[in-house]
């Protein structure tokens, strides 16, 4: 509770510094180097920064030291904590006052306050940009540690090369990634088989054939399809498309073939995921096709080629690297997609080639292993981190490769 008051006091001091700095700058106004507000901001920053740094370091040390002691010194702990808090507040306030005083001394017409303040701002901007690196590092570190923990408890041979996935609570679970990878890749392939032809042809039609009126209607509608959350597609797979497929291929279905027993299957999840990816592929390919210079088309038309011949023999070969990049990005989305497969693909890990049978994927297992009530330090729970790391590595590889491909292609015509 005291920390809040402490922070408020430091802020109040800083505001006082802002006011004092501005006043001093204005009163000294012969030929100031910077605007008064720069001097004021300088004092404000110089008051806040040392004090908050002290507070942060002290609090960290306190958490670290007192946490260890509280186990043994529970009786003296209370008084110790009280003196500690009092001491902390006094030191922080003193630091704030001293730095305020020091900063005020610096305020003079020759002092280049603007340069200093702008350097602070630039540093802050840079820290924000570096957050992207921090996030990546955070993802990798958090998963690597837990994965190492998992591999201590479970044999790595079984994880990478085993053929069974059957977690249980007796401590002898078979936790192998291979059947999950099979399911993931199979479903992603089905999705791409749906999405790539439809998405690519839509993009070609929209950019080469469609009149501007059709384009102005169809493109926003495709974007709507892209903006629908995946949970909606998942629900559609589970409650509408799965039952529809079973009505066709189930034992009592339209074809009466009995190929499908459950509503959840590779085809259910794969085809619905394909629908989700159509706008993704079409908008990426649209950009790429539009980037192909008009002169290439004109040259082809000039030689007497029809529109479709131009597209097939000139446009597509020219755009191919970009389109391959787009397909790889779509594949990475398909592999990482969660809600559609959680709701539509089922939970049975096995190697089957029948698209009408249920399969499971890496992402569904991550969700089920981490949302259960299991002990957090059991291999059955920790395996989720190993799965997550594999998923991250897989999609990262695809993304880097695809981005590199797309970038290289773009530069070709710039």
């Amino acid at each position: 509770m005291l920390t809040h008051i402490l922070i408020l006091m430091v802020l109040a001091l800083a505001l006082l510094g802002f006011w004092l700095g501005k006043r001093k700058a204005i009163l000294a106004a012969t030929s100031l180097h910077s605007l008064p507000v720069h001097y004021a901001s300088y004092v404000l920053l110089m008051t806040i920064l040392p004090a908050s740094l002290t507070l942060a370091i002290w609090s960290l040390a306190e958490a670290w030291l007192l946490h260890d002691q509280s186990l043994t010194l529970s009786t003296t702990n209370n008084t110790l904590a009280q003196t500690d808090t009092a001491l902390k507040s006094i030191v922080v306030i003193i630091v704030a006052v001293l730095s305020l005083f020091f900063a005020m001394q610096k305020v003079s017409p020759e002092f280049r306050a603007r340069n200093v303040v702008e350097k602070f701002i630039l540093a802050a901007l840079m820290v924000c940009a570096a957050l992207a690196i921090l996030t990546t590092v955070g993802i990798v570190v958090s998963m690597v540690f837990e994965t190492a923990h998992f591999l201590n408890l479970h044999s790595w041979k079984d994880f990478f090369f085993g053929l069974d996935w059957s977690p249980n609570f007796h401590g002898d679970s078979a936790l192998s990634i291979l059947p999950l990878l099979w399911g993931t890749l199979y479903i992603s392939c089905v999705a791409l088989l749906v999405a790539v032809p439809v998405g690519l042809l839509s993009a070609i039609y929209l950019s080469e054939y469609a009149s501007s009126r059709i384009r102005s209607i169809a493109k926003p509608l495709l974007e709507v399809l892209a903006g629908i959350p995946t949970i909606v597609y998942g629900l559609f797979a589970l409650l509408t498309f799965g039952p529809f497929l079973r009505d066709l291929f189930g034992p009592e279905g339209f074809f009466a073939v009995g190929w499908m027993s459950d509503t959840r299957s590779v085809a259910t999840a794969g085809i619905v995921m394909g629908i989700m990816l159509i706008p993704f592929i079409s908008s990426l390919s649209d950009d790429i096709i539009n980037a192909v210079p008009q002169s290439l088309r004109d040259g082809s038309f000039g030689l007497g080629a029809t529109q479709s011949e131009t597209i097939k023999h000139v446009l597509l070969p020219a755009a191919l690297p970009g389109i391959v990049g787009a397909i790889l990005l779509a594949a990475s989305r398909a592999i990482g997609e969660t809600m559609i497969v959680v709701l539509g693909a089922g939970a049975i890990a096995r190697f089957t080639g029948n698209p009408l049978e249920a399969l499971t994927t890496v992402t569904t297992r991550i969700v089920s292993q981490l949302t259960g009530d299991g002990d957090f330090n059991s291999p059955e729970t920790l395996v989720a981190f190993a799965l997550g790391l594999t998923l991250f590595a897989l999609t990262l590889g695809l993304n880097i490769f695809a981005l590199y491909y797309v970038r290289k292609y773009r530069e070709q015509y710039e």
């Binding site: 924000c128 570096a130 957050l131 690196i133 909606v232 991250f392 981005l403």
Partner: protein
């Protein structure tokens, strides 16, 4: 008359030309078919959602006159609130049975049902509803008061056509005699369908009472998360973009940051959930299932989107603006903050709204940090409760309903999707309007 040579005439198409023309037509049709497939999928999706979800906004209610007997609810007759609270919902259940019997007699309904079976068509939430109202207003005890109870989900399904006499078969929750009884009550206007505000404002209910479940608490959870995302992702994202677009020197570090941003935009959302679980919950010991943690995870997820769109907006500001500002003596920082940033604001806001819309529909990471549907049972009362006490979010609530076995929940899942889509459409429309209204062509 000489026959024109098919290989020489311009007026008769040669076999090859015909073939090429057919190929052209075929390809054109192929493209048209692809667009048609894509758009009809959208149409099918939308029709399904509206057809299956609109039912959730209507609910069957049973209006009953219940005699609130003093002998049952307040034996001592003191109206002391503490004594009244001692009567649990079990104490109220017999009153519903009595009210049903009374209706049968008064309206002359012929039925073989026991009073227990008759009362069973009322929702299990009815006793709690009566108790709440009596505790709020003890003067009601001893009077006969009109209550509008929710009907049991099976009766509700019967009114909506989901449950029929053929489909109930050996269902032990409902019998065809009860449906006959319900038919009579419908004729008498005692059972009626009406708009169900509780679905939009209420909390999730146990899987025994689908009729009572609402998405209101989850909406609050989503709203709290969006506030966190907006407060963190917008400033950080804009700051990062300004650095990368205006200040960053061309060196390895900048390249590395850019590669990271591009990759993070394509990392599967579930990976961010794992990060949230490992870092925010296991390492920093932030509370599980809290919208604050959900907001932090979604912030990390939305940041790349916001950075990418903000950079595009900054890039769209012409260099002449920067040159002019620099020319009159502004520093680089002043140029950026006073001139470039204001001009890029509409583009930044558009990108931010689209990023928020993406975050609003995200489910998978929330499941990992414990924001599962069934925790959304209590409406938060203060801001800190809204951020820290366990809650869910709209998509996670929909997922929870989709998982439950009772088909009555499916209707609610679709209804929840309608609400979610209304939010998303509104956000997107605002973004489009912003873009139209403030977009400048230089």
């Amino acid at each position: 008359m000489i026959e024109p040579n098919p290989h020489k005439s311009l007026f008769v198409a040669s076999a090859q030309t015909k073939q090429r023309a057919t190929a052209e037509k075929r390809f054109h049709m192929l493209g048209l078919t692809a667009i048609f497939i894509a758009l009809s999928m959208l149409a099918i999706l939308m029709t399904t959602i509206v057809a299956k979800g609109s039912g959730a906004f209507q609910q069957s209610f049973i209006t009953l006159d219940v005699a609130l007997l003093e002998a049952k609810l307040d034996k001592k007759g003191t109206r002391n609130p503490d004594n009244l609270k001692k009567v649990t919902t079990f104490g109220y259940a017999p009153l519903i049975k009595a009210a049903m019997e009374q209706i049968v007699v008064a309206r002359g309904i012929e039925t073989d049902l026991t009073s227990k079976d008759m009362a069973a068509i009322v929702s299990k939430s009815a006793a709690a509803q009566m108790r709440d109202r009596v505790l709020n207003d003890p003067r009601l005890i001893g009077t006969t008061t009109e209550f509008k109870f929710l009907a049991n989900s099976w009766i509700d399904g019967y009114l909506k056509g989901r449950v029929t006499r053929e489909t109930i078969g050996k269902n032990k929750n409902i019998s065809s005699a009860q449906l006959d009884f319900a038919d009579r009550l419908i004729e008498l206007g005692i059972i009626e369908k009406s708009f169900n505000i509780q679905f939009i404002l209420g909390a999730d209910a146990s899987d025994q009472r689908p009729e009572d479940a609402g998405i209101g608490v989850a909406i609050i959870g989503s709203f709290a998360m969006m506030c966190v995302v907006l407060l963190l992702a917008l400033p950080i994202g804009v700051a990062a973009s300004i650095y990368l677009e205006e200040f960053a020197p061309e060196n390895r570090l900048t390249d590395f940051i850019e590669v990271n941003v591009a990759n993070l935009a394509a990392v599967p959302s579930i990976v961010f959930g794992i990060l949230g679980l490992a870092f925010f919950i296991n390492m920093m010991h932030l509370p599980q299932s809290a919208p604050l943690v959900g907001g932090l995870v979604l912030t990390l997820m939305t940041l790349p989107t916001i950075i990418i769109s903000t950079r595009a907006a900054l890039k769209a500001v012409p260099p002449s603006i920067r040159s002019a500002a620099l020319g009159v003596g502004a520093s680089k920082m002043q140029t950026t903050i006073h001139h470039v940033l204001p001009l890029a604001t509409p583009g930044i806001l558009t990108g931010t709204i689209l990023g928020l819309a993406q975050a609003l529909g995200e489910t998978a990471p929330l499941l990992l940090i414990g924001m599962i549907g069934y925790v959304a049972t209590n409406m938060p009362e203060t801001v800190s409760q809204g951020l820290l006490s366990p809650n869910s979010a709209m998509p996670a609530q929909i997922y929870e309903w989709a998982k439950r076995a009772d088909p009555a929940f499916y209707e609610r899942a679709w209804g929840g999707i309608i609400i979610l889509l209304i939010f998303l459409v509104t956000m997107n429309l605002i973004a489009v309007r912003l873009r139209r209204r403030f977009e400048r062509r230089w």
